[in-house]
Symmetry: C2
Subunit: 122 residues, 2 copies
């Protein structure tokens, strides 16, 4: 099974989180579920990765947090919700551009059909 290493995804967890928050405020557990769903179960973010990302992203001013009840009547346990900021949106946009560039560069070193490769002449 091919797995996504934490090294290649590194630095893009923030981008994924921001992408989800662009659709509206959300909180830890829900975001992790969404990442799993959106990625077709191909990527599951670790809890500690997610929550430490929140701290970092908020420090950077890309998200804001607020505590609220799950339903308007005030039932259920309170959660910490996050909302993307203007700066966060700008950061997200720059990450999208960076991604296009990265893809271009990395693909110069990647073979799309690597199975056929051998080492004969080396």
């Amino acid at each position: 099974m091919v797995q996504i290493s934490s090294d290649i995804i590194r630095g893009y967890n923030d981008t994924m989180i921001l992408n989800i928050l662009m659709k509206g405020p959300s909180y830890g557990y829900q975001i992790s579920k969404e990442i799993k769903t959106i990625s077709d179960e191909k990527y599951v973010i670790k809890e500690t990765t997610l929550y430490s990302a929140f701290t970092r992203i908020e420090k950077n001013g890309y998200i804001e947090s607020f505590v609220a009840n799950p339903d308007p009547e005030g039932n259920g346990k309170k959660r910490t919700y996050y909302r993307i900021t203007e700066a966060g949106l700008e950061y997200y946009k720059s990450k999208c551009e960076e991604w296009e560039l990265t893809k271009e560069v990395v693909e110069k070193f990647i073979e799309e059909n690597p199975d056929s490769l051998t080492l004969d002449d080396n």
Copy 2:
């Protein structure tokens, strides 16, 4: 200017090096030049990143080193050359597969035309 962050490239430096070594043995300075050329000057690997990558990749058994003169007559300063191994080729192949998967996943969270995005409804 859009720049490639060390976080997104992390873990793919090894792959780039292996890709270059697939064409035949090479050494540090030349590899760094090639990475720059192949990437159209878009990515320049840092010296320390490169040389520490050699140590790691060799430890993993993906490359082998040998010291040789730059020309057959024995002139010039000796260099440490690297040669990819069978295990290295396999690793490279797996990284290519991983890349395809990663791309698929990341792109679910990336907007190709991010300029038009706003935050109205949030």
